[in-house]
Structures are given as C-alpha cells and as structure tokens.
C-alpha cells in the first residue's frame, strides 16, 4: 500500500498537539514555531494531494480503508473534487490563523495552540471521512476545541457565546445522529449487512415519507451549521466573542461543513424529500440573504458586520446549491472557497485593527487610511473581493451562483442579486467610515501600519484572490466530474414510491446497480 497521505494530513496537526503537551509552558516561542511548522507541513502535504488529484475522475481518490469496530464502522478516508478544495482551504488558512494570533494571544499560548491544532485535525477529518460514523466522530469532536477557543480566549460574553454555539450545534447533530441510526438500521434490514459507508447509502432507496424525516434530521444539523435563517442566531455571538483566529476558522471553514454536508449527504441520499422541501429551503436561503445584508447595514461593530455578511453570503451559496444544476453547484463550491478567503481576510483585517486600537466600533475610527496606507490597500482588496468586483475571486463565484439560480428560477435570481447590492452598500459604507474622512479619535493618529508578519499572512490570501478571480479553471476543472456525478444522483435516480407502511418497518429497497 502506498503512503497513507490522507491520514497523514488529517492526523499530523493532532500529533503536533500531542507534542506540544510535552513542551514546557514557559517556552512560548517554541510553541508558536512548532505550531506554525506543523500547520505548514500539513499544508505542504495537502498540496501533494492537489498535484496528484485526477480531476477527470468522480471517484474518491487517495482512498484508505480498513476495518475498525466492525458492524459497518470502518476507517475509510478519501477525497473527491468537492472535499479536496475544502481540505486545501483548511490547510491553507491554518498557518495564517496561527500567524495572526502570534502576538494577539499572550495568555495560555500553549493550550491555545494545542486547541488550534486539534481543531485543524477535526475539520480535515470531517471533509475526508467516507464513513458516516467516522464523519460524525470528527463532526462532534471538532466542537470541543472550538468550544475552548471561544470560551477561554474570547471576549467578555464568551461563555454565553460558546455555550450557545455548542448547544445549538449539538441539537442539530444529535437529531442527525438519530437519522444516521435509522439509515443504519434500514440498510441492515434491506440487505442483511451492516454498513455506514456513505456510498453504500446511495444505493438505498427509501420511501418518500421516511426520506422526509431523515432529510429533516440531516438538514437541520447542516442548516444550523451553515447557518441558514432562522438558525443563525449563534453566529453573530460566536463571531463577535471569538478571538481573531477562531473567527477566521469559524467563518472560513466551519460554516462550509454545513454546505458540504448538504452536498455530501442531504442531496444525494434523499432526492425525493429534497424535491418536497426545495421551495421552503430556497425561501429560507433567500430570507437569509436579505436579512443578513440588512442586519449588516445597521451594525455598529465591524466584526458583527462581517458576521452578518457571512449570513448573507452563505444564503447565496445555499440558494445556488438548491438550484441543482452544474453552474449553480460549482458556483456554490467556488463561492465557498471565496467566502473562506474573503471573510477570513476581513476578520484578519478587523483583528489587525483591534489589536492596535482595542475597539471594533465603527464610530471610533475614521481617517485610518492616512495613518496606515498599506493596510488600507489590503483592506480595500479584501473588501472588494467580498463585494464581488470583477477580476477578484468573489465575482466569478457570484456570477456562477446567480447564473445557476437563474436557470432554476429567474424570480429567485432577481431577488438574490440583492446580496451583491447589499454587500456593496454595507461594506463600502463601512470602509468609508473607518478608513476615510476626518480623524475623530485621537487614538487613530498613533496607529502603526502593518508589520512584516501581518503582510506575510495577508499577501498569500490576496494572491489567491487574484488567481481565483482571473483564472478559475485551475479550480473548477478539478471539481467537474464529482459535481456532475452528484447531480446525476440527484436527478436521475430511480424513484420508487412504496406503499406507506408502519413507521417501525418502513420500506427500504435496494436499487440494482448496473
């Protein structure tokens, strides 16, 4: 067997965390450099994934499979064109997150970095698992480091924010767990074999009513994670309280676990239920777009403005996912990456400001650009990327998304375009108030421009923004095959409407695989 590269990428950060336990608390520098080194090596290893990935195949690649606990619970990893990008996004942003907390975190550096590394392992694990049990283990386990990151290093209302985050997420994922159990037992009844393999469940055809319940179980968990309106309430709290790096990871990667869940599970497993719930979900996504945008307009705190902009952007991504066509879904995945970069970058920018001025209120700033010219250039690029300026990454994603949505329903697309208008409004207005105009606050005069470390972690992001905006082929062509297979599953699955039976013994029929 070849080198188990996926396991390596997944568990290397966790190994780093274990190593850090044994480094003395006082050696803060050693901790920081070790954490950075581990995240960088993980990034390098994940680049090897990218170069060896065959974009023309829809099958999962780099597959590792071995028995684990029996009864269908296997250790089964693999990436396809959808998860590959999310893994890369995670490994790309992690060193940046570590760098961004270099001076911001002064207390309990050791524990902080341990949790960051564990978080990275957990997130990568979610994206590479091909076994539902393994997926669920990572999905839940990753909550623990996030809980500590917000709860220990967060702002004044951190305990409230972190408990709300954990409990709301757990609520959804526990109901998803029940749905997993039901799937598990249906598969057993239908075939006499225990299995929790995701691709085995693709063969399982359930009657529409059962599908409806299971879909709700899965969709609720993912909708909370995304978050879709009206389950978004944890997000502004968590974002505002979390330390910068945790906000970056939360916005850039964690939210994508929700959309990824929809693409990987909710759509292909329950196509009939999806059809039934599609209007409702689309409307919720649309409400999210407009509501998030309007809320962002009235925020006084820059960080919560960016948080609400996330709600709005994620709404567009979900709407594009629900358009169920090639352009829409690819656009959604592309926009997931864009959102990760641009929102992550905006949180970093807010962090840079906060570290200097110790405030995030818009009214405390004004005229910052005169003091920090380099910073203002970076801020402008990141902000425009989030708005969707042509030439930058956000434009490509939004055009694809909106095109897909338009193909599915012109009315929805017309309404969804408001995300672009609203984004331009709240971001440009915020930029104007913070960066331009007269200096109202004397503190602003003493602000120093970005240092080399900050440049060091923003430059790669900006390079990626241009790259993704100018030459999207690099990214899109690797996902084509996987996305088209996904859509094939959703649209062309043989639909068997079984007579309704007792809830204890619902119908489960195996499709003949040709």
């Amino acid at each position: 067997m070849s080198f188990p590269i996926l396991s390596f990428v997944t568990f290397l950060p966790a190994a780093g965390a274990v190593l850090l336990i044994f480094v003395a608390k006082e050696k803060v520098k050693v901790h920081r450099f070790l954490a950075l080194a581990f995240t960088l090596v993980t990034l390098a290893a994940s680049l090897a994934l990218y170069f060896n990935f065959d974009g023309s195949s829809a099958d999962p690649q780099f597959v590792e499979k071995s028995g684990w606990l029996g009864y269908g619970i296997n250790y089964h990893l693999g990436v396809d064109g959808i998860s590959l990008w999310l893994v890369l996004l995670t490994t790309f942003l992690m060193p940046i997150a570590v760098l961004s907390s270099w001076t911001y975190i002064q207390k309990r550096v050791k524990e902080y970095l341990i949790f960051m590394l564990l978080l990275e392992s957990g997130i990568i694990g979610v994206f590479v698992s091909l076994n539902l049990f393994l997926f669920y283990v990572f999905w839940e386990a990753m909550l623990i480091p996030m809980y500590f990151l917000i709860g220990v290093w967060g702002g004044p209302r951190r305990v409230y924010a972190t408990l709300k985050f954990v409990l709301m997420t757990m609520f959804g994922s526990l109901l998803m767990l029940v749905a997993i159990f039901v799937l598990y037992s249906f598969y057993y009844r239908a075939t006499g074999v225990y299995s929790l393999e995701i691709f085995d469940f693709h063969k399982l055809i359930l009657n529409p009513q059962v599908q409806g319940w299971l879909f709700l179980g899965f969709a609720l968990a993912f909708a909370i994670k995304v978050p879709m309106f009206p389950f978004h309430t944890w997000l502004p709290d968590a974002h505002v309280e979390a330390p910068t790096a945790a906000s970056v990871i939360l916005a850039a990667v964690l939210l994508k676990m929700g959309t990824y869940g929809f693409l990987r599970f909710a759509l292909p497993l329950f196509p009939d239920a999806l059809e039934k719930f599609l209007p409702l979900l689309s409307v919720l996504a649309l409400i999210g777009i407009i509501y998030g945008g309007l809320m962002a307009l009235v925020q006084k705190d820059i960080k919560s403005l960016v948080a609400y902009s996330s709600v709005s952007h994620m709404g567009l991504i979900m709407l594009a996912v629900f358009s169920l066509n090639m352009e829409g879904v690819e656009g959604a995945i592309y926009q997931m990456l864009n959102h990760g970069l641009s929102t992550g970058a905006l949180f970093l920018i807010v962090g840079i400001l906060y570290e200097r001025a110790h405030t995030r209120l818009i009214k405390d700033f004004g005229g910052v650009s005169t003091q920090m010219p380099v910073f203002s250039a970076f801020f402008l690029v990141c902000m425009l990327s989030s708005v969707g300026l042509p030439g930058l990454n956000g434009f490509v994603g939004e055009v694809l998304c909106l095109y897909g949505v338009f193909k599915a329903s012109p009315l929805l697309a017309i309404l969804a375009v408001s995300t672009v208008i609203l984004a331009a409004a709240y971001l440009l207005w915020m930029y104007q108030r913070v960066m331009h105009g007269p200096v109202v606050n004397e503190k602003v005069r003493s602000l120093k421009d970005m240092n080399k470390r900050e440049l060091g972690y923003l430059i790669p992001i900006v390079i990626m923004m241009f790259w993704m905006g100018i030459y999207p082929q690099t990214f899109l062509r690797k996902m084509d095959a996987s996305v088209s297979r996904l859509l094939d599953r959703v649209h062309n699955r043989q639909k068997i409407f079984e007579a309704q039976r007792l809830p204890e013994k619902p119908a489960a029929v195996l499709e003949e695989k040709e």
């Binding site: 606990l69 709860g151 757990m170 526990l174 109901l175 029940v178 013994k505």
Partner: protein, 478 residues
C-alpha cells in the same frame, strides 16, 4: 459443570474481607495503608481466579451459583471498580478523619455481595447477595462519623434500602406462590404457560422490579440518591455510582433476556419500563441542571445514565448494555477521582464556585476531569460516545425511534451541565483560594487508568467488544 472453582473468586473476596478485618486489630493506626494493599492483593487473586473460569460455564451449589461468562466479566468489573475505590480511599480517609480500617473490609464484603448477585439465577440467592451488599453499604455511607451529612446518608440509605429489600422479598413470595420456585428459568417457564393463573406472578415480577429499581436508582425510586451520594465519603460515592448499578442491570438483563419472550405481560411491562426510562432520563438530566454541588450533580447524572441503560434493556441490546457499564465505570470513577483530587486535609472542594480557574492551575486534574465530563456528555472520541452510539443505534434497530429522540435530547441537556463544570474550570476567574495537596500517587494512577480506559474504549475497543458479545451469546436461553 459442577465445580468448586466457580466459588473461588467469591471466596477470595470474602476471605480478603475477613483477613483485613482481623489484621486491623494488630496494625497501628498510621499503618492502615497496608490494609488497602492487602485488599488489593485479594482482589487481584479474585480477578485471576475468575479469569480461569472463562468459557467453562461452571456451577456450584446445585446450579444456584452459575459462574457463566457474564458473571466472569462482571466479577472482573467489580474487582477493577473495587481496586479503583481502594486506591482512592488510601489518602482520602486520613485526610478527612475517617481513618477506619473497616472501610476495606466493608468494601470487599460489598463487592462479594455484588458478585453473588451477578453470578446466580436464583432469586433467593440474588436477594442474599443484595443484602450482603446493602448492609455493608449502609455502614460505608456513614463512615465519616464526624460529619452529620454522612450520618444522614447512612440512615436514609438504610431506611429506604430496607424498604426496598422488603419489597423484593414480598415479590419473591408472590413469585414462589405462583410458580413454586425461586429459580429464574422455572419462573419464566411458568410465566409462559398460558393456562396458569398469571395475576400473582405478574404482580410478583412488578414488585421485584420495584426493589431493583430502587437499587439502580431509576425515577421515581431515586429520591435517596443525591443525599446519599452527597453524604457518603467521596470514594464510596464513586463505588455506589457504578457497583450496584452494574449488578442491578445485570440482574435485569438475566430476567428480561428470557422474559421478553413470554408474551403475556409483555406489553404493560414494556410500556411501564418505557415510561420509567423516559422519566429517568428527563428527571435526572433536568434536576442536574440546577445543582451547584458537584457530588449532587454527579448523583443526578448517574440517575440519567441509568435511564440510558434502561433504553438498552428495552432494546434487548445486551452487549451494548454491558459495554455501556464498562464505559461508565471508567468515566464516572475517573470523574470522582478528579473531584477527590481537589481536596486537602479536612476540606473538600465540592461547590462549583471552587472549581473556578482550577483547570489551568492543576492541569492534570483539570484536564482529565474535562475529558471524563466530555465522555459522560457523550462527545467523541471517548468511551461515552461509543457507548451511547451502540445503545441508541441498537434501540433504533429495535424500532424505538421516539425513545431514542427523547434520549438524545436528554443528553443534549446533559451537555449543558457537564460543560458548565468545564466552564467553571477553564473560563472563570478563580474565586475562593483553592489549595490542594497534589502528592497523591494512588489518585493519579486511578486518573490515568481511567483516562486510558475512556480513550481505549472510545477509539479502539476491539477485543473488549468481542469478549462482551461472546459472553452475551453464550448465555443460556430457555
């Protein structure tokens, strides 16, 4: 096969109790620790002797003592639990002015009672084991003689415990009257006979169940639990939370393994148990929300866990039940060990406010306690998650979807109060000055063994599951 070997683990334990009791007279007060080591040696002997009986299905006393594989497993379980408790006791007793040598003897006797309960199919013998356990446990609860709460715990436990025992005997009399036997297989055979009059037997089963429900602390027979747990010396509380629960559920397992098949009486019993399981999970978790004393919090949490175990009984998923008990042993004893660790001579820090800031101050105790609490809450990759996963997935397979939904929602509630302890440990500024004596190697040994157990059972239980499944499948069904 009738063989004296089946009696040997029990003899080792009882013998150990007697030897320790005798030695105590000759040992100086400062050297009481040796009694603990002697008891550990006897427990190790009992464990070794019981392993020798694996897969032999030995019986003794004309079948009333049947040392089958399940009994072997449970004997090992009790030996391990007993060893943990003894290790925790070593320091605790001198710290809290309860340095009585009897504790080891009483513990061993209580353990032997539990072993009797799990290795018999005769209700009368089970009752005998229960009484041996109960009488020693009443004394154990009251061992902190200077402490009024400890006395209250002992008295409360004694009064309610004897009441429950009386119920058990009454039910036993009913059953004997109906089926002319106290031997479980014969009773069940009688219950299956459609022609026989059933009222007497059914009410007998119900009354016996009430007796056991008291011992395993399921709602509405749980009232004693928080007070007794709070008043008893903490290592003894740790023992109470795992020992009798395991024994009680194993007895239920033996009864229901065959009883479910008996059609008559199944439906009402099933729904009564269903309701009790729901109540237990709901009341246990909701009441725990309001606790500020960690011992009481763990008491309510242990009630809630009895509810999850009942789900396994209802689903007839017995290997998951045993696995859950094993996971629960490690995580709960571990949590109590960490709580014991947070104490110094004369003072125990048990209020939630005392836990503020402890996590960073005492990283090992705080860190392991956090792991145990997360495991109790059911987070992967710990044993608690895997145990819940097996129990609930088995229940869904048995068609109990609504029960499982209630169960997971109840465990969501539990996440809140377990995490609240973690919040205090890591996210609050220290209030009252907490000074603890950390030089307690025995305690750290227990902490690390439990940590190992929690992670091992959570990530790679492999062989343990195989052993449990083998033990369950080799149980005789009649």
């Amino acid at each position: 096969m009738n063989n004296f070997a089946s009696l040997s683990p029990l003899l080792a334990t009882v013998g150990g109790a007697l030897v320790v009791l005798l030695l105590e007279v000759f040992l100086k007060k400062e050297k009481r620790d040796y009694l603990g080591f002697v008891s550990l040696a006897f427990l190790a002997a009992a464990a070794a002797l019981s392993v020798l009986c694996w897969d032999k299905n030995l019986t003794y006393f004309r079948g009333t003592l049947s040392f089958d594989n399940l009994a072997v497993l449970l004997t090992l379980f009790f030996c391990l639990a007993g060893a943990f408790v003894i290790l925790l006791t070593l320091r605790y007793m001198s710290q809290h002015g309860a340095n009585h040598g009897e504790i080891f003897a009483l513990l061993l006797l209580a353990l032997s009672g539990l072993m009797i309960m799990t290795s018999s199919s005769d209700l009368l013998v089970i009752f005998l084991g229960l009484e041996v356990f109960s009488v020693s446990s009443y004394a154990l609860a009251g061992l902190r003689r200077g402490e009024p709460k400890s006395g209250e715990a002992a008295l409360k436990y004694f009064l309610l415990g004897s009441f429950a025992s009386a119920f058990l005997v009454l039910g036993l009399a009913f059953l004997f009257g109906a089926s002319r036997s106290t031997f479980l297989p014969e009773i069940i055979v009688h219950l299956r006979m459609a022609a026989a009059p059933q009222t007497l037997a059914i009410s007998g089963v119900a009354i016996v169940f009430v007796g056991f429900a008291f011992k395993v602390a399921v709602v509405p027979f749980h009232m004693w639990t928080p007070d007794v747990y709070e008043g008893a010396p903490t290592p003894v509380t740790a023992f109470f939370s795992v020992g009798p629960k395991a024994a009680g559920f194993i007895v239920l397992l033996r009864v229901f393994l065959n009883f479910w098949e008996a059609e008559q009486g199944r439906q009402p019993f099933f729904w009564a148990l269903w309701a009790i399981a729901v109540l237990t999970m709901a009341v246990g978790n909701l009441a725990a929300l309001r606790q500020t004393n960690v011992k009481r919090l763990l008491a309510y949490s242990s009630i809630a866990h009895a509810g999850y175990l009942l789900v396994a009984v209802l689903a007839r998923d017995y290997s998951s039940l045993v696995f859950y008990l094993a996971a629960y042993l490690f995580m709960n004893v571990g949590a109590f060990a960490a709580v014991i660790g947070l104490s110094k001579t004369g003072t125990e820090y048990l209020e939630l406010d005392d836990f503020a800031g402890v996590g960073f101050r005492y990283p090992w105790i705080g860190g392991t306690l956090a792991v145990f609490l997360l495991s109790l809450a059911g987070f992967p990759p710990t044993a608690g998650f895997l145990a819940k996963f097996y129990v609930f997935s088995g229940a869904v397979r048995a068609g109990l979807v609504s029960l499982v939904i209630i169960g997971v929602l109840a465990s969501l509630v539990s996440v809140f109060y377990y995490l609240r302890v973690v919040v205090y440990m890591y996210m609050k500024e220290p209030g009252r000055q907490v000074d603890i004596e950390v030089d307690n190697p025995a305690l750290f040994l227990v902490l690390f063994l439990c940590l190992f157990g929690v992670l091992q059972l959570g990530i790679f239980p492999g062989n343990i599951l195989v052993v449990i499944k083998h033990a369950i499948s080799s149980l005789s069904v009649f």
